[in-house]
Amino acid sequence: MNTILLAFDLALFLEKLILIAVIIFASLGIALYTTFAERKVAALLQDRSGPNRVGPFGLFQPFADGLKLLMKEEIIPNTSNKFLFILGPFMAMTAALMTCAVIPWGNQVEMFGRTIQLQIADINIGVLYVFGVVSLGVYGMLIGGWASNNKFSLMAALRGASQAISYELAMGLSLIALLMLTGSLSMKTIVEQQMDSYWNILYQPLGFLIFIICVFAECNRTPFDLPEAENELNFGYHQEYSSMKLGFYLFAEYIHMFIGSAVMSTLYFGGYDVPFLDESTLSSNVAALVGIASLMAKIVFFLFLFMWVRWTIPRFRYDQLMNLGWKSLIPLALFNMLLTGALILAKSGL
């Protein structure tokens, strides 16, 4: 009995382990090419050609960048708190990667006689899990900035942390309105509901607007990139970092963007749903592949949006940022919640 249980567990364990490895490597790979895309999009918007020297069309540029970072001298300031100084970038990276556990990357595939769900964990609190991991993302920044023992780093870290906390509130409130409609916290269930009816963006346009602004703020992207405002804080919370530890911080931002895009696509844009296509007419594996491609297309669009905004809109001032978060977005999110509640009540006929 015990050995049977163990054997069953082992197969599941291996399956999940492979899935985790694939998803993490895919996230890293996509984030790697997002850095390249960022430079290409910047070049496009500024009417120049961008990096085109390394490989065809400059396609190997990210590897050259990575190699450059890796080869740089590793400097740890001797006034800093060494253990926390090293811990900071790792926490930033871990928190960035942890979210991908609950995102349904596609429906199931059938392989080697097994049905494999393309989601690491379908927990019934998926949305809250995302929220929990987002709230942990502050630590990498805060610890790194403090352990550097540099006043600019500390100021940047405090800015970043207060920004993240402020925008988490509006984010949570905009999600509550969504959850009132879905009635479930499981990401998979939310996607399946959207496959059967319309995408949530049609029901929650205002909620999505608030949510995407908050995602921009949580990712520390322009126009909310105050933690690394280089003309005020030199370089931001990672000023004292060099070599791959700096690389981890910079890279974590791109992973955040990728995962943030995935969450937005899943919650509001149907996840792996393909519009105007009945997936049940396709065979399971084909449907899964089409679904993954559809999710990736949505993610790529959001990544492009991130870059588009970055190279279009200038940075906010710090008081403007706080006013926007606390005095505009939170009341707006509360109003959205009220409106959603009233509409649900009206639809159910009081």
Binding site: N124, I125, S135, Y139, L142, A161
Partner: protein, 167 residues
């Protein structure tokens, strides 16, 4: 040992070591980080008991929000191990005595509780900690205490705003 048991012992050890290190660390920032680790261990226990909602709320509220505020205060006041004042031996003795008494009260309380005697924790079953059950209970059986606590939160929020405005 099954995986659940291994996890239980690991998490218990982590919780105890973390809690001890909170008290023993000289550097306040280290204390806060150990406390965060302790919260994670406790959340792990909740998950073992199939109380996923409690686990994640514990992380969001305590590890994600309250501990960040602690870190804020410690970083802004620039507390570190050098700034820690040395207490006299009298103070230390008083602290040990008070802490020991409190621990004795707690331990004897747990030992004497009839409801806990001879019971084992439900592991991987029971659905009281799932969000659906919790919501149903809160909005049916415990509606009045729930609403009253929301009033309490509101008054705390008003109080925070009033204190924040006073400068």
């Amino acid at each position: 040992m099954s995986i659940t048991e291994i996890l239980f012992w690991f998490l218990s050890a982590l919780a105890l070591v973390g809690a001890l290190m909170v008290v023993l660390s000289r550097n306040p920032v280290h204390s806060v980080l150990w406390l965060v680790a302790t919260f994670f261990a406790i959340s792990g226990h909740y998950i073992l008991m199939n109380a996923q909602f409690l686990a994640i709320v514990n992380i969001i509220v305590y590890a994600g929000a309250i501990m960040v505020l602690f870190l804020f205060v410690i970083m802004l006041m620039n507390l570190n191990s050098e700034a820690e004042p040395r207490k006299s031996w009298m103070m230390q003795l008083a602290g040990v005595l008070a802490g020991g008494c409190f621990m004795m009260v707690l331990v004897s309380l747990v030992r004497q509780t009839a409801e806990l005697g001879g019971k084992t924790a439900l592991v991987k079953e029971g659905n009281i900690g799932l969000i659906k059950q919790l919501g149903m209970k809160l909005f049916s059986e415990y509606t009045v205490p729930f609403e009253i606590s929301s009033v309490l939160f509101l008054s705390a929020m008003v109080g925070a705003v009033v204190i924040g405005k006073k400068d």
